[in-house]
């Protein structure tokens, strides 16, 4: 710290700072990454995969605000959603550079078949245990993914991942604490935790499925199947401590990466996009 702040700076109150901020939005360069280049079509598609996962999950978590079991959980899920919105903005912004579209164009003006999100993120919030099971699975997956994507040959993806991994680490911890607490709580909380894992496990397989796109992005994207051993190793001790078994049973068809979605996504998008579509170009 230098002395100049005390010496030169007149004390500024928050009112001074926020009194009259007149900013021409067009002068704000929306570029997120210094020196970021334009994404190729394949890299843009990959950025859409990850960006759509983050966006859809954030939208889901936002629905808990004011409805979580306790005030602290409203705040926690709201904060997790905010982090995910941040990741989605960076990723969709980058994806948009390939087709000259903004992050808002991609979030609000695409329809269901154009979304590339996984089926697990579009599964309904359900009860709190379902939301926690979904968080637990996705946060552990994202942590492994972003840990490795930091080494991507694509500088923009690497920068986004380096930022995101630190935040996702907290999401992983949050859901882990809840899995342990619910599974070892009352008979009712344990019953709900077991039901939630059993309902969501069919959607785990799709997360680690390799799409042909991955073959074209060697060194840039992270191969989903390569994450499975680390994912299994990370969740095993938690499930063991919680005395939960990995559910067996059917595997859902998936197809999110190619735009095949379950019925849930359309309802979610309708709610997310209605305002922008009712008032195109509106700002505040």
């Amino acid at each position: 710290m230098s002395e100049h702040i005390e010496a030169d700076a007149p004390a500024q109150t928050p009112e001074d700072i926020h009194g009259h901020v007149a900013v021409d939005v067009t002068t704000l360069d929306a570029e997120l990454i210094e020196g970021a280049s334009v994404a190729t079509a394949d890299v843009a598609e990959y950025a859409l995969w990850l960006g759509d996962d983050a966006l859809v999950l954030a939208q889901q978590l936002g629905a808990w605000i004011s409805r979580a079991p306790e005030l602290e959980e409203d705040v926690a899920l709201g904060n997790v959603a905010l982090d995910l919105i941040g990741h989605a903005r960076s990723l969709l912004h980058y994806a948009g550079t390939a087709s000259n579209r903004t992050e808002d164009d991609l979030a609000y003006w695409r329809t269901e078949p154009d979304f590339r999100s996984l089926h697990i993120v579009e599964q309904p919030n359900g009860d709190f245990a379902h939301t926690i099971a979904r968080q637990f699975i996705v946060a552990h997956y994202l942590f492994e993914l972003y840990s490795r994507l930091r080494a991507s040959a694509d500088a923009t993806l690497a920068a986004i991942a380096a930022k995101a991994v630190k935040e996702v680490d907290y999401h992983r911890d949050h859901s882990t604490q809840w899995v342990l607490r619910l599974a070892q709580g009352t008979d009712e909380s344990r019953r709900r935790m077991i039901t939630a894992f059993s309902d969501l496990w069919p959607y785990v397989e799709e997360i680690f499925r390799d799409d042909p796109l991955i073959d074209r992005l060697e060194g840039i994207a992270v191969r989903p199947s390569s994450l499975l051993p680390a994912f299994d190793a990370a969740i095993a001790p938690v499930l063991a401590e919680a005395e939960l078994d990995i559910p067996s049973g059917f595997v859902a068809s998936g197809g999110g990466r190619t735009g095949k979605h379950s019925e849930h996504l359309a309802f979610l998008l309708a709610e997310m996009q209605v305002l922008t579509r009712a008032h195109p170009g509106a700002s505040w």
């Binding site: 710290m1 230098s2 100049h4 702040i5 030169d8 700076a9 500024q12 109150t13 928050p14 700072i17 926020h18 901020v21 007149a22 900013v23 002068t27 704000l28 360069d29 570029e31 997120l32 990454i33 210094e34 602290e72 959980e73 705040v75 926690a76 709201g78 904060n79 997790v80 959603a81 905010l82 982090d83 995910l84 919105i85 941040g86 990741h87 903005r89 960076s90 500088a155 690497a158 920068a159 986004i160 380096a162 930022k163 995101a164 630190k166 935040e167 680490d169 907290y170 992983r172 911890d173 949050h174 882990t176 604490q177 342990l180 001790p237 938690v238 401590e241």
Partner: protein, 186 residues
């Protein structure tokens, strides 16, 4: 190991506050550095390590900021405020950009900033993010004791991991019984 610790501190300081070396840019840096975090108005963007570069050329000023958290809504306000403060100071063609790399860390918070934070009633981050990141995080993270900013007791506990903003968690002091915010390590 005093030398090593001193060198490390100097390295982190240089990384946290990369002030420009030419006089014109440094003058503009000092003006931009007055902008405060709208959520924690005792901390300037320089204290936080959010101000990354200020470059003055013949007819323009280019500023880069880095977000604390990816989704931090205060970033828009800080960006607008930097634009406002430089424009008011007479600079023209001010452009403010956000950069993500290198990723922001609480290690960049200045010692003066940490002291101001405690005085404001928020516990400053304890320990280093690098230490947190290198250890294999087990299912239960080991946490360092957080000191109550009111009575300095170490007998505190976390009430909620996620607090009033992305960067804070909610604690309570078991001695003075007051709740307080803790700026968590990132």
């Amino acid at each position: 190991m005093v030398t090593t610790a001193g060198t490390t501190a100097a390295r982190i300081e240089a990384e946290a506050r990369p002030r420009p070396t030419d006089a014109a840019s440094l003058a503009a840096w000092r003006i931009a550095a007055q902008v405060v975090d709208p959520e924690i108005p005792v901390l300037t963007i320089e204290d936080l390590g959010v101000l990354r570069s200020v470059t003055v050329t013949d007819d323009a000023v280019a500023v880069t900021l880095t977000p604390t958290y990816s989704g931090c809504p205060a970033m828009d306000a800080m960006r607008d405020d930097v634009l406002e403060v430089l424009t008011s100071a007479g600079y023209e063609n001010v452009a403010v950009r956000l950069v993500l790399s290198p990723a922001w860390t609480t290690d960049w918070m200045s010692e003066i900033g940490k002291a101001k934070l405690r005085e404001y009633g928020i516990a400053a981050p304890t320990g280093h993010a690098t230490a947190r990141a290198s250890g294999p995080a087990g299912p239960i993270s080991l946490k360092m004791a957080v000191k109550c900013p009111r009575c300095s007791s170490l007998n505190t506990r976390e009430l909620a991991h996620f607090g009033s903003t992305s960067c804070k968690s909610l604690y309570e002091c078991r001695d003075c019984l007051e709740p307080f915010d803790y700026f968590k390590v990132l």
